[in-house]
Structures are given as structure tokens and as C-alpha cells.
Amino acid sequence: MEFGWADEDARHRDEILGFLDEVLPGDWEAISKHGPGSDQQAAFSRTFCGEMAARGWLTQHWPEAFGGRDASPWRHAVVGEEMWAIGEPRGAQYMNVNWIGPAIMHFGSDAQKAEHLPRISSGDVLWCQGFSEPEAGSDLAGLRTLAIRDGDDYVVNGTKIWTSYVDNADFIFLLVRTDPDSRRHKGVSVLLCPVDSPGVEVREIPSVVGARYFHEVFFSDARVPASCLLGPEGEGWNVVNYALQYERVGAARYARAARTLDRLAEIARERGLLSDPTVVERLAEARGVCEAARVLTYRVIDERAKGLPPSPHTQLARVAGTRSDTVVANLALDLLGAEAFEYGSYGDANFRLAMTAGVAVGATEVQLNLIASRFLGLPKL
């Protein structure tokens, strides 16, 4: 057991920070406050990810055989922390490199690998995730969207919901039921579905989180080529589980929260609030919550670096990460006061980006269920 960074990873952090200084535009803060799903950030991500790809950094943690450099999960974590902290200039493409690409590597056909992996690693393709449905939220196994084989196509009917990034996406990582008589986890499959397939319609759901954040995606006799099936038909639940283990700690929320907190402390200093022990102690309390999420995430990265199977430490890290976002966002509102009421102000933008933390990518309560059963070994009801 030891907690030192490898020299090469520490150096890479400096390289990444230098790169961000160099390529982020002067108005990056204005761009980033709309969130990774915004048009501005989606457009910028193609340029930015291209720059990262040109340096060999975008998918450096992938195997060499797929255009990566076999960089360790620690190296990838360094990149993730610095990207998320600055407002994720990779936009939705962080999902591509974190879990969509790895899922295609693991389950994809040679043709799928040849089609998708080079595009992902060159940074010019956008993906979104089609999991949740109106009747299948936390209980994802209740999904109903049907994909029935018809010749060389699947004919898809159903609705996906809460889908972020879909309005700018080229593909949707789509979870469907391919066996209409199946229940729960069986008979489910994944389609790598082009968003421009005929019969796919997108509607924005207006929300307080921000513009273009949530969408519904309607599939009405949408025809998707059977060659888009990822992995064996009916084995989609395994694909999703594999992918989600990557996704749950994929967003380094604690890094963003910690950076926001440093900024809040600076604001507090400028306003003479660092002489108020209540303010000082709340800043420190929030710092502890961010640091807790960081070490719990590192615990998971260590398992991944050693090639160990996913463990319940993932759930601990995931819940802690959402807490860091929430605690800091609340503190920002308290500290900034009424000035945060203005849409687009620092406190407002930060709060809106953080407010979905405990719900996005699976509700905290589901994670707590898993911790209770798998980590604590508590009996089932």
C-alpha cells in the first residue's frame, strides 16, 4: 500500500494543464457554463478532442491494437480529473472514451470496431446513451422498447427518456428488448443506432437544469440495420453492466467540485468572509467531502489498474462523488446569496450543473441498495 503518484503520471498532469492553458479559448468559462450538452460545447468538443487526439491523449488508455497507448487507468484518471475540473471540454465525448469505446472493444464485431473505434479516438463523433424509459428509470430492467428482427434490420418501437446530448449526437447506445416475450434482464440487446435513422424523432423536455438538457427519443418503426447489434442478441444486460462499471466513476465530479470550492474560498477572501468561522468551517467541511470522493474513486481506479473485477467500491465512490457536487453547489448558493438568482451567474450555473448529481446515471438509492447487499452483506427483505 502506498499513495504516491508515478512520476510519469504527475508529469502528464502538468502536460495536460499546459495543454488546457494553450487551447481553451478566452471565453471558455462562458461556453462551459451551459454544460457538456449545449450546442456550444458540443461544437467545441469536436475541435478540442481533435487536438487531444492529435497528441495521442484522447484514448491513450485504450489498447494499442485499437489506437491507444496502453496508458494505465491512473493516467486516464489524471486526464479525467483535469477535464472535469475545468468544465469538461471533451463535452459528451468523455462517455465515448470512458465506456462506449471499451464496450465496443469488448463486445463488438470486427466491422463495428473498424467503424466506430477510429472515429471515437479521432474525436469527431458524438454519442449519447439510450437507457431510461418512461416506465424504466431506476428499474432499468423494466424497459419496453422493442426491436424486432425483420430481414436485415431491426424494427424499433418505443420511447427513451432523459436522454442528454442526443440533439447533437451521431449515435445512440440503445438498449432494447429483442425478445417480446422476455422479462426483466433477459431478451435485452444493445444497438449502436445512428440517430438519423428513419423513424427516430427527438423532442426536448424543458427543464430547470438548462436548455437542451433532457430529451425524449421516439422510435416509430425505426429501421436499424442488424449489423448494429452489439454482442449476442439477448445478452445486452451483460453489455450494459460492463459499460456502467466504467461510467459510474467516469465523471470526476469531485474534481470539479474541488475547483469550484477553491474559487468560492477566493471569493470569500475578497469579501472579507474568511474571518467568519462559520464560513471557514463550511468551506473545510466541503473540502473534506470532495477529498473523500477522490480517495474512494482512487480505490476503484486501483482495482481497475490491477484488472480486478468490478466491486462495490464503485458504488461507494459514486455516491461520494455526487455528494461532493451537492455540498459545494449548496455552499456556493449560501455564500453568493441573491446574486446567484441571475440565470447564468457563477452560483446559478454551478448549481444547475450539480443538481442532477444524485439522479443522473442511476439514483443514489440504487447505489445504496447495492452497498447494503454487496459491501455490508445485509440480508435481503
Binding site: 468551517e281 486501483d302 445485509l378
Partner: protein, 312 residues
Amino acid sequence: MDFELDTDQQAILDAVGVLLAQYAGPGRAIDLAAGDAYDFDLDAALADAGFTQVAATRGTGPLEAALVTEAVAAAGGMVSFGAAALVATGLGAGDLPGPIAISEARPPGPVRFASHARTLLVLDRKADEARVVALEPGTCAAVRSSFGYPMGRVPDALARSGDALGGGSAARLACWWRLALAAEATGTMAACLDVTTRYLSQRRQFGQAIGSFQAVQHRLAELAIQIEASKWLAREAAFQGAPAEGVATAASYALAAAAQVFAETHQLSGAIGFTREHDLHVFSMRLQTLRIEHGGVGAHRRALSAERWGRA
């Protein structure tokens, strides 16, 4: 970065485990507490086996000392191990006679282990120094306490005396003390959760094991997250040699968690948790001591803030 024990660390913890199986455990702690006693046998066994000096031994360091401190706390060992293995060793104060107690220069109340201590470490913030005071056993009168450790009252004159450890020693003592508290709290909280989880897995009401109810499970899961995080923060700070920001982070986080661990484990255990016939109190009452010592969570948080963002 490696979150698994290496073979040497595993061997150390295995050997400590053998000693703790013989000289610790909640039953022994309950018996010792009945007489406000100190576990001189366990103390001697840990010292004789070299664990008290593990931080100053070639090939091992503060991380190993923190791991052992955690293990001793989790076993309910009635010894002042963190003060010896982490604080005295970290200060480079030499091989001080134990038991060792640590006190503020103006202790606001009884001091843990003072009634049995042969060495008192004094943190004098005003004079900006740490001092070592040699004690005759019995100098500090024993004080009856429910809070899990033998306590003694340090006379004012004694807390103002002693040999100064030199420039910067107050800051260093503050740091190592925070680290010891974080490591002890981590082991103690883990024991609270373990006792409670086992009890709630067996105790049946409404025809079910209480621990099967989701309302209960979520509360225990929340504790597990905080205890795990406390553990890694303390170990990381130990590995780094007790840096001021790291130990203030570890201590403030762990001791805030301690308040919740106490409240939740007692609430969920029901009336049995308050009795001396059930193990929870051995660990839970100690959490309150650790939480309050060295200025408490507020002081640790102010220290963290000052280290990270400077003072006003």
C-alpha cells in the same frame, strides 16, 4: 499508488492480529473499563514486538504505524497506542516512557490516559511549542468517565511545565495528533459499524431481520461510505508523513463522520446498544472522546481551511 497491503504490511497486521486476539477485544475492554484500568499487558506486547516503533523502523513508516493504530482501535485495545506509535515517533521525541497522554497547555477537562501516563505531551499554542513532561504514575488524579477510556485531570502547573521540543514543534505535534485521532476514529467507527451490522442481521422484528429493511440499509450504507473514506484519507495522510492539510482533512472528515456513526449505530441498535452487555458502547463512547479532543471538528476544519486557503 496501491491500495492493497504489500506482503510486509500484511505480515505486520497478521502479527498484530494475533496479539489483539489475545490481549484485546470488547470483552476485555469492558472488564478493564470497570476498574478504569489501562492495559499494560497489551501495551507491553505491542512494544516488545516492535509495533510501537514501527514508524521509526527501517523499511516501515507512518503508514504502517497508522495501520496498526487503526487495528488496535478496531479491537478496542485499552492502550495509548496512537500517541506512542504516531505522535511521539512522528515528533522524533525518542523512546519516551509510556503510557503517553497528550494535553493542551490549558486542558479544558479530563485528559485521556493521563491517570496512567508516565509521559505527557503538551501542545502549547500560545508559546508555539510542544513540551515533554515526565510523570510519576498517580500525578494526574483519575476521573470517572463514561467515555470509553481511563481519564485523568492534569494539574495546571504540570501542563505548563516540561522540556520544550524546539521550533515548529507545536505545529508538528498538532499534525501528528490529528493523524492519530483520524486513524483511531477510523478503526473505532469500523468496529461500531461491524457490531451494528452483525446485530441487525440477526435481530428480527416484524418477522424480518431489521437489517433487511431498506430504510435501515440506506443508513448503514451511508455510514460505510464515510468510514471507508475516513480510512483512506487517514492512510494517505500517514503515507505522506502527516502534512498539515492532509491530516486536517483526514481528522475533520473522520470526526464529523464519528458523530453520525455514533448517532446512527445507537439509534438502529435500540435499547440493547446502551447496555454494558452489548459491545457497541465500547467503541461508540470512545468516538465522542476522539471527536472532542484537540479542539474538536471545528478546530480541525479551521486548520484545514487555513492550510488550503490561508487566513483572513
